[in-house]
Amino acid sequence: MKMHNQTILLVEDNEDDVFLIKRALKEANILNPLQIAVHGQYAIDYLAGTGKYADRVQHPLPSLIFLDLKLPFKHGLEVLKWIHEQPSLDKILVIVLTSSSEERDIQQAYRLGARSFLVKPPTTAMLLELMLSLKNYWMKYNEYPATPNPP
């Protein structure tokens, strides 16, 4: 099946980046519901459905996660590792979207189950271009397993 109205979780602590990514998504006409987690622990809480994220109606499990790496409290790689260890979350598409392409991060991210590693582009135009190609690839063409993740 294709990804239509599935939730996207953006794990990003920098509100400027949140603003710019939101804008780019909108411009690229990616209209999926967007949830924000502003640090690593919140991301884990959200995915585990604990604390303020207990309500799955309000905070549905995402099909796609944009994960920043340099995060307060829990590093993005720790989040990735945690997700990797949860069998129930193995179908979530995790895309690392971070500021820099450190080789050690890239290696580690793929080892921990990231499907893609992207560097935040320096300009809005490039960010838009990136979002458009994401939309085409991951949303228009990519096939996903039929059984959605259990709530």
Binding site: N14, D16, D17, R23, K70, T98, S100, E102, T123, T124
Partner: protein, 571 residues
């Protein structure tokens, strides 16, 4: 050289000028008379196998004969036409060579001649009155002949003596030279010997082994002189000591173990080795002793004798300890330095990681918001406002590039850069295809395949070559299609890769600083750049063991090159 043993030649003889005559050759006598019959008379009178008579019928003939030959005696007629006998004698006496030849004048009368003759003095000159008495003549001639013979003998003897003396002197000199050489050699050898003796003595003292023997049956213990020295104990006349002389010297804490090993060695009838410390008796110093002993058995296989050696190894152990301590210190220093270096690298990595993330985020925001304002409120702020926003966006982008290039540069200096054989023929098309700035320039890039392989690090070589290609297509005059030629050549076992463009070139005066950090030689507005790209090229190539450079006249393009070792050919 001319010293005591140089006898002067006999005064009246010049040995060199003297005849080569031997002892028994006939004696030459020159007879001079203008009357041939007188000469014949003289010949008759003086006939003797011991004489050889030479005739001269005038003074001139006589002189000639005197030049040619040597004569023992002249018999001279005074009355001669032309030069008379007196005048001839005068000339003869004047010539050094003939001055001493005796002359017998033959004179007819007692006259004025006699005074002249007496003037010569006796010995060298004599005279006879005519008519000559044959007996007197013969006897006078015989005397002169004898005189001559004696003289000749004397000269010959003298010559022989001289020869011998010369020979001896030469021999003496040779001997002296030999002596000198010998003496010198002896001195040298003595010196060397003394040195080696000194060393030997030191070596003996340092490693001198003291020996002891112990009769197991009688319990007699005997030491050699060196062992007494090692223990600082005055030797006993016969060398016998008591067991307590040894055990009392050993440090109490070392004694039990040492005794146990010794007893064990005796029981096993084997070979034992111990190390213990002693108080040296004469100065109380603690010395390290290494002991080895062996047991000699009798025909029944029972221990009979124990023979042992002691070696003072204090200095050796001290040196070993120092060496070990030194090595440990060195190791610690190396460890500390390595740790500090590692820490530095880690800090640097941490720093660049933070820079990469934290420094770039605000720039993205600046750029993003500026564009957001431009997009959302552009029509409200006028052209000038829009221009300012664009400038903010451009500045932010530029800052972002600077940041990432600086990061790259900081990495190129420290990251490991393992080298391997890299095929430029494969790498360069990939770079051309995948680097957006190269593709965007729509340049004509010609690759002169096949390119030679190099020894380098592929990741950083990719970075360096893409930087050079990026420059090659960037710095071209407006409206010109960039044309780039890539070729390789072999150079002194290295490979040089040329990247030649048709760009604006670089003036020779700018070329030296071109590869420096933040160096830009073109105006910002026309050609964007951070001034780090070539610094990265140089640093990375240098870290691969290569060099970089360029050729350009500043007008018709640049020819950049990087030179790297050629990979080892696999045989």
């Amino acid at each position: 050289m001319n010293d005591q043993a140089n006898p002067a030649p006999p005064s009246q003889f010049d040995p060199a000028a003297e005849p080569s005559a031997s002892y028994d050759s006939p004696i030459n006598i020159l007879i001079v008379d203008d009357e041939p019959k007188n000469l014949t008379v003289l010949e008759t009178l003086l006939e003797d196998p011991g004489y050889r008579l030479v005739r001269a019928e005038s003074a001139d003939q006589a002189l000639l004969a005197l030049v040619v030959e040597e004569f023992a005696l002249l018999i001279l007629d005074i009355r001669m036409p032309g030069m008379n006998g007196i005048e001839l004698a005068h000339m003869i006496k004047e010539r050094k060579k003939t001055a001493l030849v005796p002359i017998i004048f033959l004179t007819a009368y007692y006259n004025e001649d006699q005074h002249v003759l007496e003037g010569y003095g006796s010995g060298a000159v004599d005279y006879l009155h005519k008519p000559v008495s044959p007996a007197i003549l013969r006897s006078k001639v015989a005397i002169f002949a004898e005189l001559y013979r004696k003289r000749r003998e004397c000269v010959l003897a003298n010559r022989a003596l001289l020869t011998e003396v010369t020979e001896r002197r030469r021999a003496q000199e040779q001997l002296r030279d030999l002596n000198e050489t010998l003496k010198q050699r002896v001195t040298e050898q003595t010196k060397a010997l003394r040195g080696s003796e000194e060393r030997m003595r030191m070596a003996i003292e340092a490693t001198a082994v003291g020996i002891w023997e112990w009769n197991v049956l009688t319990h007699a213990i005997r030491w050699d002189a060196q062992l007494f020295r090692i223990y600082g104990i005055a030797p006993t006349p016969d060398g016998f000591v008591r067991y307590s002389d040894w055990s009392g010297a050993v440090l109490p804490e070392d004694l039990p173990e040492s005794e146990r090993i010794l007893q064990d060695t005796v029981r096993r009838c084997g070979l034992g080795r111990r190390e213990f410390r002693i108080h040296r008796r004469n100065d109380g110093e603690v010395r390290d002793i290494e002991a080895v002993e062996t047991v000699r058995t009798n025909e029944h296989g029972q221990a009979e004798w124990v023979l042992g050696t002691n070696l003072d190894v204090t200095e050796l152990r001290k040196a070993q300890k120092q060496l070990k301590a030194h090595a440990e210190t060195l190791e610690k220093t190396v460890d500390a330095r390595t740790a500090s270096l590692r820490e530095t690298i880690e800090q640097l990595e941490e720093f660049s990681y933070s820079v990469a993330h934290d420094l770039r985020a605000p720039l993205r925001a600046m750029q993003g918001y500026a564009i957001a304002v431009l997009t959302d409120y552009g029509d409200q702020i006028g052209e000038e406002g829009k221009d300012y926003l664009q400038r903010i966006s451009n500045a932010a982008q530029r800052m972002d590039r600077l940041t990432s290039d600086t990061l790259t540069y900081s990495k190129v200096a420290v990251v490991p850069m393992p080298r391997e054989s890299v095929s430029l023929d494969k790498l360069i098309p990939v770079i051309i295809q995948h680097y957006p700035q190269i593709e965007a320039a729509q340049a004509e890039i010609t690759v002169a395949s096949p390119l030679l392989p190099v020894l380098g690090n592929e990741i950083w070589l990719t970075q360096a070559i893409s930087n050079l290609l990026g420059n090659a297509v960037k710095f071209v005059p407006q409206g010109t299609t960039p044309q780039v030629r890539v070729r390789s050549e072999s150079r002194d076992g290295d490979v040089r890769l040329w990247i030649e463009d048709n760009g604006i070139g670089i003036k020779p005066e700018h070329q030296t600083r071109l590869f420096g950090m933040f160096e830009r030689v073109h105006l910002n507005e026309k050609y964007e750049g951070t001034g780090i790209g070539l610094a990265i090229v140089r640093k990375s190539i240098e870290r691969m063991g290569g060099t970089v450079g360029l050729e350009s006249d500043g007008e018709t393009g640049s020819q950049f090159w990087i030179q790297l070792p050629a990979p080892q050919k696999k045989s």
